[in-house]
């Protein structure tokens, strides 16, 4: 059971990362910006796990799990911010949310 080389996994990971970056740059809804951030994190996770398999060492998988925990905490804080923005009847538009003043 050989399957594709690690290079192919890296190409998929790079495409996912760039798709996520495009979503962060182009979309205005903060919910979709958060989803695009998840895409970028998943792209880096795939690269970490591909290299972990290539070197036959588990360290990459450890860091992929750490990245998943960081992504979960980022979603908690980001969704809390989005909910509190929506409760203040502000527009959910990252171009208009330009001040931190409460």
């Amino acid at each position: 059971m050989r399957g594709p080389d690690v290079v192919w996994y890296l190409c998929v990971a790079g495409f996912l990362f760039c798709t996520g970056a495009l979503g962060v740059l182009i979309r205005r809804s903060p919910l979709i910006v958060l989803l695009s951030l998840e895409l970028m994190l998943n792209g880096s996770n795939l690269a970490l796990i591909a290299f972990s398999r290539y070197y036959a060492q588990g360290n990459g998988q450890i860091f992929a799990l750490t990245v998943m925990a960081v992504a979960a905490s980022e979603v908690v804080v980001g969704l809390g911010l989005i909910v509190s923005i929506a409760r203040r009847q502000l527009d959910l538009d990252v171009d208009k949310l330009s001040t931190l003043r409460g």
Partner: protein, 185 residues
Amino acid sequence: MIIASVANVLVWAIWVLAAFACLGTGVAVISFSNPFYSALSLIGNLASLAVMYLLLSAEFVAAAQVLVYAGAVMVMFLFVTAYLGGRVDAPWAGGPSWQAVAAIAASAALFVEVVVVIGLKTSGRLSHEHETDAAFGRPYEIGRLFLTDHLLAFEITSIVLLIAAVGGVILGSHSREAPTAGVQQ
């Protein structure tokens, strides 16, 4: 010999399916105008990524991906999306703006850069994988690494999760007071 080559073809077929599902749902995440559909396609993306993790013999990470991401994080996302209601932003309304064109150019340049670096710097050197033993990627091995070599990363991760939980509670309690603050202004 024949069985091995059949297994190889099968692995390639599964990989191609998972990769195209991954790329397609990734593009779908950023192109739907409704965040609900974006979140649903991100679930598909996570599932196809879990298939690729299984092909890379990372069984524990694949299981954690499905349980933590698709099970917990995305459910929270869908709840918040449903709570906020159907706020639709039209990303392509009014023709492509200069901002969108610049963003597409920037991410395409990033992708070309990544592919060129992978192609130039790693060709030949990354084509032969090391052999793995049976313990690779199993929960036992992950736990051993977490509690011996990467204990600091483990502890820092738990502290980050704790801080995120506290931050979520603080943000939630502030937003409960928010309507009165809005009236006073």
